[in-house]
């Protein structure tokens, strides 16, 4: 156990910090769930890519810089420290990318990863269907082989980034006689293919965060199949592990929020405003929890770098960060008092900042990427071995 960064790690941090200080936008970009914001974020990703920082743990040939996972953590820390924009292509770079790296063909890696790293192609995820949410194995959209193509019919929903993305990945039933987890194939679909209709759905903040996607005899070449035919579930599980686990929610995100919360607390106390006495403890607990999440991630990374795997314990992470994120934002709103409900731009709102937006975003945490109820089932059954029936 050695909790000091190596000189190389310190040097990398310094380099990332300098680059971000020089290049990160000074002003907040518009939401990437608007068309304007989507393109602004793509422009930022292009810059990031040109600077060599788009996806530091990826191999250089795919647009990364061949760094290891620890350096990825360091980069994330610096990224949040710089207040740099959210990653518009997170479905691609954090979820699908690692999966392609694991199970994709050399051609697929060469075709998809570089354009993903540069956000030339932005990805939507197509997991859920109207009747396949928590019960994801109940997928009904079909992809039937016909010559060199799959012919896709059916519907996906809650496709994050679906409104503006270029590509979608998801599972489709390639064996029409199959049931549940079997007979599914993981397919990559260009969203401009004829037969696709995208209906954006506004989320709780009134922005087009996701979409319903309808498939009507959509033809996709069979080389867009990722992993083996009929083995889509296994491929997806690898992706879901990444989503719940390491990549999607790096600890820096929560340490950043925790630090802002501590500052908000100190500022509110200093202002002489009434602060409920219990908030002293709640804020400290939030900070401690963000530390715990960081420590835990460093431990996971240490294990992974020593050859370990991430498994069902990703479900622990999902519950922990999603509850922490909600708690931090709720606490901030309590500190803001009567101003908590004001939208930015109201004169009385002052510097309440993005806590309300963040709160609404945090509320989705216990729902997406597998509800926390599903995660608790996984912990009980797969980690603790409690009976399924």
């Amino acid at each position: 156990m050695d909790l000091n960064y190596t000189p190389e790690q310190d040097a990398f941090r310094k380099e990332a910090r300098s680059w971000l200080e020089a290049n990160a936008p000074k002003e907040k970009l518009p939401s990437f769930d608007t068309k304007e914001g989507f393109e602004a974020h793509r422009a930022w990703e292009k810059k990031l890519h040109a600077g060599g920082f788009a996806m530091v743990p990826w191999p250089v040939e795919y647009g990364g810089r061949g760094a290891n996972l620890l350096e990825w953590l360091i980069f994330e820390e610096e990224y949040f420290r710089a207040g740099a924009p959210g990653r518009v292509n997170q479905n691609g770079i954090f979820l699908l990318g690692p999966t392609i790296m694991e199970v994709g063909t050399p051609e697929q890696k060469a075709r998809f990863l570089p354009k993903m790293a540069s956000s030339e192609e932005v990805w939507a995820q197509g997991w859920s269907e109207p009747n396949a949410g928590s019960d994801m194995a109940n997928i009904q959209a079909t992809a039937i082989k016909d010559g060199d193509d799959f012919v896709i019919n059916g519907q996906k929903t809650w496709a994050s980034r679906g409104a503006f993305a270029h590509w979608l990945f998801g599972m489709f039933r390639s064996d029409p006689d199959s049931k549940r987890h079997n007979g599914l194939t993981f397919i990559l679909v260009p969203l401009d293919t004829p037969g696709i209709t995208v209906r954006p759905i506004e989320k709780l903040n009134n922005k087009k965060a996701f979409a319903e996607v309808f498939f009507d005899d959509v033809r996709v070449p069979i080389e867009n199949q990722l992993g083996d035919e009929g083995k889509g579930w296994e491929v997806a599980m690898a992706t879901a592990g990444f989503e719940r686990g390491l990549m999607l929610r790096s600890p820096a995100r929560f340490q950043d929020t925790a630090r802002k919360l501590v500052n908000l607390y100190k500022k509110t106390v200093a202002s002489g405003a009434f602060v409920a006495p219990e908030l002293r403890r709640t804020v400290a607990q939030c900070w401690m929890d963000a530390e715990a999440y960081t420590l835990n991630t460093y431990q996971t990374v240490s294990r992974l770098m020593a050859g370990g795997k991430i498994g069902a314990e990703a479900s622990l992470n999902k519950i922990f960060w999603s509850e922490l994120d909600t708690k931090m934002h709720e606490t901030a709103l309590k500190l803001l008092g009567y101003r908590a409900e004001l939208l930015a731009g109201s004169s009385e709102a002052g510097d309440v900042g993005e806590w309300l937006d963040g709160y609404i975003f945090a509320l989705a945490g216990p729902i997406y990427a597998g509800t926390n109820e599903i995660q608790r089932n996984i912990i009980a059954e797969r980690i603790l071995g409690m009976p399924r029936k």
Partner: protein, 352 residues
Amino acid sequence: MEFDFTEDQRALQEAVRDFLKGECPVEFVRAQWDTENGRSKEFWAKFAEIGVPGLLVPEEYGGLGMNEVDLTLVMIEIGRAGLAEPVVPTAAVGAPLIRDCGNVALASEWLPKIATGDAIIAVAQPTSPLVPEAECADLLILRSGDGLYAVPAADARITPQKSNDPSQKLATVEFDAKDDQCIARGADADRLEGMALDRGALAAAAQQLGACDQLIAMSVEYTTERKQFGVPIGSFQAVKHQVANIKVALEYARSHVDRAAYSVANDTTSRSVDVSSAKIAAGEAALQGSSTSLQVHGALGYTWEQDLHVWMRRAWTLDLAWGETAWHRERVAGALFEDTLPAEHFGFSPPA
């Protein structure tokens, strides 16, 4: 000792519920989001026909001459419907304040108009600089220094402040305090303002009960219809028990609110503590109702088009209205630990 509502009171509640079912479906609430000031004169006129704005207005001024116990049942229904018209400042707070301030000219001018639906009142909250309904008000009751002022809309400078709840209309207000608009000073002003705060908080708490009940109803309905793994998701204990927990919180909050209604109507010595207890308990139930309902609705509840958030946002904004939970908690704790709590509370009694 009899702690229950009368049959007449229950009948009034049902009548209002039926009225709102017809006149205030969720489509109406949503439609108001896009209108200029978010309020409907047509609705308000119909509401006046059944007597709601003038519920606390004495009969000699054309009102129903009822009290806060009656009004509380009405406010519950308003919360259930998600209605955000200016009932609280006009009917629950403004009318009795004008009635009680001892200014007969003011009462004679405004109370009849309140009862007929021809006047909207806004009242400043002592706990926040945000004045709900200032934009649509005809008369504003505002504080300046040690005085309370009745200010016609034309004399007030109003700056709208946008709430996260599109139904909620907030503003900051500036005005020049004029002696002829002063309706109370010093201890009188404090007393009126204190009563206004308790009336406002009680009305907010009652709405929170109604909103919470509605959130439970929507959750039960959705989880009964929605199937996953071949069964309704409402049959899973993880879902069932979460919803059951809201129900527990709601029913005990209801007891606090009922008691607070009695205490306000009868101006008991425990009034403030009872109102604060009600506001805290109802607020927590409604917030728990919000987050739990969202969780059991899953992604669907997280969309703008689903109606769940109409009530979630009501719960959020009501929690901040007329004293946030933290403020009310401090009021209860203060009374409890500084021994200012009256012995009047029934039940287990301290040695005389």
